[in-house]
């Protein structure tokens, strides 16, 4: 977790956001209508000997020496937008969560909040304490977005801001989101959060280029949720939460390859066999959302929940 650079450090350079660009575009359009001085500016882009005129980040035209120009390796925002919308061909990402191993270490939560510029009270993945009825024992359950194959959330979005990709991920474009929160209401898993206030370290992330696969920088008044760390998957790395877990709770992989790898032990196993041997299930299957997150039951627990020395729910409530 420590070794991973935040998006801010990786991509810390001045840029114009899409909104600013649109604003400028509108101004330029107005300028054309007014018709004054615009024609003259065209030759500003023409080459002149060894120096070249370029449009600076703040909209001013600068003259620079040709030899100073070089190609930038980082992906542009437009690139991130198109790639982020289409997804990684040939993949179908899948996550398996082993409830028998979770002991509420909350490392996944911390790693996720660190990566996605979230405040401590904002969760893409949260670890919930589960209380069922009667004599049953409580346990802990990490709950990310289920990346449903039939997602109710994307159906209700009026502006196509939240969408499903070919590799199975459901993402949000914060630059498009109008904050209507229909999707929050539609999601049966309460996976989505709303940025009611300015996000954490808003100042620090101010100039960072928006990455739709990371939802960073977060924007006030828009929705965010678990992205299965789409930015890491592009680099063939496992999600932040998966590798952060110290207890081997998470398995992650590609359904097309029929294999999942444990984030802690790095052991790779047959995905379908893992589900079959352990009686895996999905949350709220009756809704037909077809989740892409599978749960292994809380059997053979290595870390039973204990309170006052008891592992039973009833005793705790009576004491």
């Amino acid at each position: 977790m420590k070794s991973k650079n935040t998006h801010a450090e990786k991509n810390n350079k001045k840029s114009t956001s899409r909104r600013n660009f649109l604003k400028k575009g509108l101004l330029a359009g107005a300028g054309t209508v007014l018709g004054a001085g615009v024609v003259g500016s065209f030759d500003a882009f023409a080459e002149g000997g060894d120096s070249i005129k370029v449009l600076g980040p703040d909209g001013k035209i600068l003259t620079v020496d040709k030899s100073h120009l070089k190609e930038i390796g980082a992906r542009t925002e437009a690139q991130m937008q198109t790639e982020g919308r289409t997804g990684i061909p040939g993949r179908r990402w899948i996550k398996v969560i082993d409830l028998g191993k979770c002991r509420n270490a909350r490392m996944c939560v911390a790693a996720c909040q660190h990566a996605h510029q979230l405040k401590p009270e904002q969760y893409h993945v949260n670890v919930l304490r589960m209380d069922r009825e009667g004599e049953t024992a409580p346990f802990f359950m990490p709950k990310p977005c289920q990346h449903c194959d039939d997602p109710p959330c994307t159906k209700v979005c009026p502006v196509d801001a939240t969408f499903k990709r070919q590799d199975g991920l459901v993402l949000i474009d914060n630059e498009r989101c109008i904050g209507c929160r229909f999707c929050i209401a539609a999601c049966p898993y309460s996976a989505r959060i709303f940025n009611w206030t300015e996000p954490r370290d808003a100042e620090k992330y101010k100039d960072v280029e928006y990455d739709v696969e990371l939802n960073v920088p977060q924007k006030k008044g828009t929705v965010s949720k678990c992205l299965f760390s789409a930015d890491l998957l592009r680099e063939e790395k496992m999600p932040y939460c998966v590798t952060a877990c110290p207890n081997g709770v998470y398995w992650f992989g590609d359904e097309n390859e029929n294999a999942v790898t444990n984030g802690t032990t790095k052991e790779t196993v047959n995905f379908k066999k893992l589900l079959k041997d352990n009686a895996a299930y999905v949350l709220l299957p009756e809704l037909g959302t077809k989740p892409r997150v599978y749960y292994l039951p809380e059997k053979n627990r290595l870390f039973p929940y204990k309170y006052n020395g008891s592992t039973e729910l009833k005793k705790e409530h009576n004491s």
Binding site: F163, D254, L302
Partner: protein, 296 residues
Amino acid sequence: MKHILKPRKTTFIFILLILSFSVNAQWNIPDYAKNTKLPTEPTYKLTETGKQLFIKNCIQCHGLPGEGKNNTAINAPDLGTADYQSKHNAGQFYYQFNEGMGFMPSFKDKLNKDDKWSITFYVKSFDKGFKITGEKIKAENCVIDFKTEDSARTLIATANIIDKNGISKPAEGVEINFFVKRIFGNLPIGETVITDQNGTAVFKFPDNIPGDENGKIKIIAKFKDSDAYGTAMKSAELNWGTHLHFVNPVLERTLWGPNNRVPLWLLLSFLIVTGSVWLTIFYVVFQITQIKKAGK
């Protein structure tokens, strides 16, 4: 299912409570544990099995013995230190590991007896006074290779040991595992094969392993006993996998499809219906103004 989405803020406090409990608790190992008779002779082979089990079950908190990567926050000791080893003989270690205490889970029902003893032998192998029998092969002297037979999808693996004079001789009775490369790791496939006196072993490749669009797949052979025989490996790309038929779900007709996937007839009927409703409204309003005009 109502409770599913109910977070508890008090969880953290509970964790702290548990933590303080386990920190204060003391191991209470009964005297008889010290005199436990070992069920079998500890061998290098058993310690190797123990190591693999240790990596699966114990490494998360204790780290590998002697490496000091143990989790001190929950008081999990490094099991390889001379201090730990001198205070716990095999029987005492077995007791601790079987019963558990505080954060240390009990493995009584989680592993069978043989496995638990293998782990015990592995941990005790870090005690210089602990005697282990059996043959130990020098890891760096082994090489692995395999040939492929396309028609029968068979892999013929060979293992050789190179002796002091640089002469290679076949290694008998060596266990070899096969893997396929997956995006985040290597997936073991099929059973372990054991080499015969010629140092060769035959492996039948299963025919249900998914490959890419062309069925291409990367196959890797490794020694099972990596501590004894080393990490030598051999890999090859073959098209023995099943072909991937990728259907882009976004291009299918779905209710969650994006705007540009709207069927034309649906779009047209929508526009016609909404258009006619608005036209009717405009017409009515227009007529009302006409009536008003006519009344003047």
